[in-house]
């Protein structure tokens, strides 16, 4: 019995890790996702998960919608990590950590920031941004 419960909990936990955080909604030029050391091609409709890294080439740009209605986009020569994403659609509680290693990023925050300011954070190599709302841009070059 105890093992059954453990197995069910584990299944939920791993399902949670693989759950889609969002979806690619716009792509132009060269764009790919890195997931678990693998390079994945990207098109409109490709799911984005926690721990994914979005990489664009010199002619690339991509836009992503998240389940809490956050919108992110990256421009050319960018590397964006979706480090942590959790959102409860009932309470609107959640946590969203992203990191821009290089390039350009635009953000429109969503329901979790409305519910709890600074539940979304964006890191750059030297800074950390607490998001209280709603629209901003970041460049690392």
């Amino acid at each position: 019995m105890r093992w059954t419960i453990a197995a069910v909990l584990l299944a939920f936990a791993s399902a949670g890790i693989a759950a889609d955080a969002g979806e690619i909604k716009s792509v132009s030029g060269t764009v790919h996702l890195e997931r678990g050391g693998k390079k994945l091609p990207v098109k409109v409709g490709t799911p984005v998960q926690q721990s994914d890294v979005v990489v664009t080439g010199a002619d690339g740009a991509a836009g992503i919608t998240f389940t809490d209605n956050s919108l992110l986009s990256v421009g050319p020569n960018s590397v964006l990590g979706i480090d942590k994403y959790a959102f409860d659609s009932t309470t609107h509680a959640g946590q969203f950590d992203a990191s821009l290693k290089k390039g350009t990023l635009a953000v429109i925050s969503g329901k979790m920031v409305k519910q709890q300011p600074e539940s979304m954070r964006v890191r750059t190599p030297s800074s950390i941004m607490g998001v209280r709302g709603t629209e901003f841009v970041v460049k690392v070059d």
């Binding site: 909604k25 716009s26 919608t65 290089k102 635009a106 750059t124 030297s126 800074s127 941004m129 901003f136």
Partner: protein, 192 residues
């Protein structure tokens, strides 16, 4: 000679290890809410709390021109997905038939939805407070399904549309029970 080599090496190391420039700018928000971003860099902390407030490498806040932002972030901003939106349609009392006004709105809403690549749509039906709970639950679900039918006919894949009926639980205009309020007989189309 050795000194030159050392200087050259130091310059190279600095060039390779040089920390990148980082710029953060708060934009005016489309919904009129005040945007605020707090930027922490080591012990420095800058609060960006007005449109185009900018900090570069944690330096004091300055206000940039909108044109500077467009120049640097043009392709990035262009890649932003369409903003989430909510549309409302209203119904004739006790039925899943749209009011004349909403029939006229429907085409405009469908056109707007068709402009979005792969929209995620959540359709929620509601009723006024006339009648019993159970009957209103069924009516609200029927209204949502009817609207789903319109969306599917317009070419939106059925698999991307969720429906729900909330009955008389969530009136948009709060009323006593058994009140015929036209604004409450509605379907919300939430699209992302």
């Amino acid at each position: 000679m050795a000194a030159v080599a050392v200087i050259a090496l130091l310059a190279l190391v600095y060039w390779v290890a040089k920390p990148p420039n980082e710029t953060v700018t708060v934009l005016p928000s489309a919904d009129g809410h005040k945007g605020i971003v707090v930027v922490e860099r080591g012990k420095d902390k800058q609060v960006l709390d007005q449109p185009y407030a900018t900090t570069r490498n944690g330096d004091a806040v300055q206000i940039l021109a909108a044109t500077d932002i467009k120049e640097t972030f043009g392709p990035t901003l262009q890649a932003l997905p369409a903003r989430p939106a909510v549309f409302l349609l209203y119904f004739i009392t006790g039925t899943d038939e749209l009011t004349d006004e909403s029939k006229a709105d429907l085409q405009r809403i469908l056109d707007e939805l068709k402009n979005r690549p792969l929209p995620d749509v959540y359709v929620i039906g509601h009723t006024d407070t006339v009648g019993e709970l159970r009957g209103n639950d069924m009516l609200s679900a029927l209204r949502a399904q009817t609207v789903q039918g319109f969306l599917v006919s317009a070419g939106i894949p059925e698999g991307r549309i969720q429906t729900a009926g909330r009955g008389k639980r969530e009136p948009i205009v709060p009323t006593a029970d058994q009140v015929d309020e036209p604004k409450n007989r509605r379907v919300e189309i939430n699209v992302r």
